[in-house]
């Protein structure tokens, strides 16, 4: 499939955001996250799955015709799919491009994996997970101090 054919399958958008370089298979999970935001309810969303990518082999991609992206959605993307590229589109042109990195802190985005952590007994308590050390994909719960991987945390996103 040529790049031009791909454009036919996911047309260019005039205004909005492209979430690119989503690892193949995670596109649906990212769509589910987007569905949590009432302010994005009216946005036209296009989902493309399993595109060829020179960098990744295969990738998913989402185009969102919306005026802005909620900051908390970006934080959740960093948890579920770090490394994705967010392109801000205006008048069919990319005006800004950022790569979502693994942050040093996840603030109240996920539940602790430790069932005996007080944050699971008192769910109103805001959780915090700090990166164990720079470059690591391991995070420590600020409350019970249990260490878990980024993938484990991604499986415990707060509803």
């Amino acid at each position: 499939m040529t790049p031009q054919n791909q454009i036919l399958l996911i047309p260019k958008i005039e205004r909005g955001f492209v979430i690119d370089h989503i690892p193949a298979g995670l596109g649906i999970q990212v769509m589910a996250l987007i569905g949590r935001w009432p302010e994005l309810e009216d946005a036209v969303v296009t989902l493309g799955l399993n595109y060829k990518s020179t960098r990744m082999g295969r990738k998913d991609m989402i185009k969102l015709q919306a005026g802005s992206l909620p900051p908390r959605l970006l934080q959740m993307l960093a948890l579920v799919s770090p490394g994705v590229t967010i392109k801000h589109i205006d008048n069919f042109e990319v005006i800004e491009k950022v790569v979502i990195q693994v942050p040093e802190l996840f603030d109240n985005l996920a539940r602790c994996l430790n069932p005996n952590c007080i944050t699971n007994a008192e769910p109103h308590v805001a959780t915090r997970f700090r990166r164990v050390e720079s470059g690591s994909r391991n995070f420590r719960c600020a409350h019970c101090e249990r260490v878990c991987t980024l993938d484990e945390l991604a499986g415990h996103i707060k509803v």
Binding site: C112, N114, N116, C117, I118, T119, A121, E122, H124, V125, C141, A142, H143, C144, E145, R146, V147
Partner: protein, 311 residues
């Protein structure tokens, strides 16, 4: 700014040494001097699970500093039994007390209390996570017996896998220079690998051994812990190992005069009562040091160190 003591990992070596020095200073004071330090101050001891030494030593520490104590010694005696959240209990108690010591079976409770409370929080044990006052009193005891912590050869014996006391002590010992730790435990209760790895970045070393007798010959002190029957899925395995880690006076024949036996207590049968009368038994003095170290901690967190006017 309010200070808390939640996790031994929050303390740099300088802060640990500062606590050891402060405890020594408190110990050298007369009873009357100590009793004048915290008049009118109130410590709340919130023990959501049973404890003898920790709770009583906190209470004795505060009483001997001239302060008073309020609190409860089991969850059933608190409003938790009526369904009150832990957060609400803390928000209520901070209205009555100047400082709070909390023990709770859930991990992370002390950190949460510290976030909520405007008065200092002391972690008196949160589930399997941390027990920092125990670690500080252990280090104080070791330094009192040996005059130093650096360079000591320490055998850690028993349940090294689940014991929060051992985990916290290991992490603190890694901060000192050249401490050599010999780990003696059943195969199923070995020290977690992540703690072993932490030694790579320190000058301390770990060595695993199956023989308590060999460790006694090679070390300056032995830190015993209880092997808990409930940790063994198969009780036959427990029966096999339970006496391999039992220390008696006969085994201590031939150890150097300075050799000490420590234990966080309660003991069950891992230290025979005949060890008590040997010059090597250090565990009851260790329990006494618990009160002294907790006095130092309370004074520090209330910004009421001796020689400084209390605020």
């Amino acid at each position: 700014m309010k200070k808390d003591l939640v996790s031994i990992d929050d303390l740099a070596l300088e802060s640990i040494l500062d606590y050891l020095d402060l405890a020594a200073r408190v110990e050298s004071m007369s009873g009357a001097e100590k009793a004048s330090l915290l008049p009118g101050r109130i410590l709340a001891t919130l023990f959501f699970e049973p404890s003898t030494r920790t709770r009583l030593s906190f209470e004795a520490a505060m009483c001997r500093l001239g302060g008073r104590v309020i609190g409860f010694s089991e969850a059933a005696a608190s409003s938790t039994a009526k369904g009150e959240s832990f957060s609400d209990t803390i928000r209520t108690v901070e209205q009555y007390a100047d400082i709070v010591a909390v023990r709770h079976p859930k991990e992370g409770t002390a950190r949460l209390a510290a976030e909520i409370s405007r008065v200092p929080i002391i972690n008196a044990g949160d589930g399997a996570n941390q027990h920092p006052t125990q670690t500080l009193l252990d280090l104080y005891t070791i330094r009192k017996f040996f005059g130093r912590v650096d360079g000591l050869k320490i055998a850690l014996v028993g349940d090294l896998k689940y014991s929060r006391t051992i985990h916290s002590l290991c992490r603190a010992l890694l901060l000192f220079e050249g401490v050599s730790m010999t780990l003696v435990s059943p195969e199923t209760l070995r020290l977690p690998k992540y703690l072993m790895k932490a030694a790579a970045a320190a000058t301390a070393t770990f060595r695993e051994s199956d023989s308590l007798a060999a460790a006694l010959r090679e070390c300056d002190l032995v830190y015993m812990t209880r092997i808990q029957k409930e940790r063994f899925p198969d009780l036959v395995d427990y029966e096999k190992v339970k006496d391999s880690y039992r220390l008696d006076a006969r085994m201590l024949e031939g150890v150097p005069g300075h050799f000490k036996v420590l234990h966080p207590l309660p003991r069950v049968n891992e230290i025979s009562p005949d060890v008590d009368s040997t010059p090597h038994a250090g565990y009851f003095e260790q329990a006494r040091n618990g009160m002294i170290m907790r006095q130092a901690i309370i004074l520090d967190l209330l910004d009421a160190r001796p020689g400084r006017s209390a605020t």
